[in-house]
């Protein structure tokens, strides 16, 4: 009888390679990268100054990246669930499987972001802004992949899972800002600015917006919450504070998803 070597390092690598190959060669992924590149390039062609370019790119990124991160991760998870069940019945730990999936998906999305956003910015001569936006883009992608993976693990039913990510996208990109604006206008006579550092923690999209604008120092475009953050923390600590919030947005969904993944029955 042969008992296989139980060391998992190379298995882990094989699984990670498998996932990343599988994602990157998908038509969906290629189409997304090309489309992102084309859109960003087009926006930059019509931008005549740095602030206009950064804000234009940022607005597109805020709209597209969370949507693709949420939907693509969830759809890929559900479409590969049977294969994942096979992997889970092998002598590998569930943590490794979860981590491989998350890492492969995040790296693929980041790769796509760099090709689709950073490269056209470099080409059009916005190199310093491209570097800064790439750093925040890495976190933005990691956040929405983590959220989507968590939702997919929690919801066994594909329709419920995809419905939930659709609602989350709507909440983060549209609904939350609309409500926040209404609250700011309605309570403008009250000292609400002291709550802003906590309020923005609820929305990772706002965190991305503020961190991008703070780090590129486009103060005129900071908006109310960005201006408050800058006022409270200063530019440097403001960036650190928002980076901290974004790290929490990566860690918390990742860990909740992992906890459930380790416990659940397949």
């Amino acid at each position: 009888m042969q008992l296989r070597n139980l060391s998992s390092g190379s298995r882990q690598l094989s699984l990670f390679e498998h996932y990343i190959n599988d994602i990157v060669r998908g038509k969906w992924f290629i189409a997304y990268t090309v489309l992102l590149f084309a859109l960003i390039y087009a926006v930059l062609m019509f931008s005549f100054e740095t602030s206009q370019a950064v804000v234009g790119v940022m607005n597109l990124v805020i709209f597209i990246v969370p949507a693709v991160g949420l939907f693509f991760t969830s759809m890929y998870y559900y479409s590969r669930r049977e294969f994942m069940e096979f992997i889970l019945s092998q002598p590998v730990s569930r943590t490794f499987v979860y981590f491989s999936f998350y890492l492969a998906m995040s790296l693929a999305m980041i790769f796509s972001f760099i090709l689709g956003v950073s490269v056209p910015m470099f080409i059009q001569g916005f190199a310093p802004e491209a570097i800064k936006m790439s750093l925040w883009g890495v976190l933005l992608n990691m956040i929405f992949v983590a959220i989507s993976l968590m939702v997919s693990v929690l919801a066994d039913d594909r329709v419920r899972g995809l419905g939930t990510v659709l609602l989350l996208w709507f909440f983060f990109t549209i609904f939350y800002d609309a409500v926040l604006t209404a609250v700011i206008i309605y309570f403008r006579d009250y000292p609400i600015e002291k709550f802003i550092p906590f309020v923005i923690a609820i929305n990772p999209v706002d965190d991305f917006r503020i961190s991008t604008l703070l780090s590129t120092d486009i103060a005129a475009m900071l908006g109310y919450s960005g201006a408050v953050i800058k006022h409270f923390f200063g530019r440097f600590f403001g960036v650190l504070y928002v980076a901290f919030l974004q790290s929490l947005w990566v860690l918390i969904p990742f860990l909740v998803g992992l906890w459930r993944f380790r416990k659940k029955d397949f």
Partner: protein, 298 residues
């Protein structure tokens, strides 16, 4: 290798296993032992707990109460070791459909720490063993027939040379000729000393392949033994299907819709009465025994 090369007493040992999904008590105190090299089939209707039992053995469903040991490795506390003894063929097709036949085996070979050369050699041996034609080896899985996909899943399960093979309804949905080929391949694994545990809806499959069959009903094992002995234990050797039903006269019998099945010691015990539309005499099967014990069809 096992300590001192001594095999544990059982390949699989299950003691007082319970499983709940929410408030649904799916497994209710299952006890089962499987010896090395034994072929065991678990039979039962939908909802009997077969798949949950299988998932518990391979660690896909958590053990909540009771013990499962695979080659002495505790499934709850040492699942990775337990899994290293098992090759698993799931009910659903979980091959990577965008990869070729060979790539599906190779990628799994890499996960088992095999080198490229080792993985390829092993994959070729297994594809030949499972009688998958050579011209299909580089074909994408999505283009294969259901039977070939199932053969490939079995080949993949054998890649790690596991002493135990677990199969959840391996031939469901396949046509009878493919089913026969798979049975033949599975029986030839017996010569290699493998232990086989399978669930199935097909009585004929269970009878043909297994040394022992286990009847499950309502989350419990209600009977366990060699197929022929099980039939003999509960019913006489002949079954008479008769419609419309007549008075069975104290003989073992069951009603199935508009028909009656009466079990007879002697095939000539009952002469065809007048006015019956159906009068079919045959040998008693495992399905009769199951039907008689549970009142449920498979």
């Amino acid at each position: 290798m096992m300590a001192g090369n001594r095999l544990p007493l059982y390949a699989i040992e299950i003691r007082n296993l319970h499983k709940w999904y929410g408030r649904n008590h799916v497994l209710r105190g299952v006890n089962l032992t499987i010896a090395h090299g034994e072929y065991v089939a678990i039979l039962g209707p939908n909802g009997a707990g077969k798949t949950t039992l299988m998932k518990s053995i391979i660690g896909m469903a958590r053990v909540q109460k009771g013990k499962i040991r695979v080659m002495d490795a505790d499934v709850k506390s040492d699942i990775r070791k337990a899994r290293s003894f098992m090759g698993i063929v799931h009910q659903e097709n979980n091959l990577d459909i965008y990869l070729s036949v060979m790539e599906n085996l190779m990628i799994y070979g890499y996960m088992l720490d095999l080198t490229k050369g080792e993985a390829r050699k092993k994959a070729e041996e297994l594809l030949e063993f499972m009688e998958i034609e050579k011209h299909l080896w580089n074909e994408k899985v999505e283009n294969l027939s259901g039977g070939t996909k199932r053969k490939l899943m079995i080949a993949r399960a054998l890649l790690s040379e596991p002493p135990i093979v677990i199969m959840d309804e391996p031939t469901t949905g396949l046509d009878p000729s493919i089913r026969r080929i798979l049975w033949d391949r599975l029986l030839s694994l017996k010569q290699k000393g493998k232990t086989l545990l399978l669930t199935t809806h097909y009585m004929e499959e269970a009878h043909y392949l297994s040394d022992r069959v286990v009847f499950m009903h309502g989350g419990r094992i209600i009977e366990d033994g060699p197929p022929d002995a099980l039939i003999k234990k509960h019913l006489p050797p002949y079954a008479l299907e008769i419609s419309p039903p007549i008075e069975p006269g104290g003989r073992p019998h069951i009603y199935t819709g508009n028909s009656l099945i009466i079990y007879l010691r002697n095939p000539s015990e009952i002469e065809p009465p007048e006015g019956v539309s159906r009068f079919l005499l045959r040998r008693t099967t495992l399905e009769d025994a199951f039907l008689y014990l549970t009142g449920s069809r498979l």
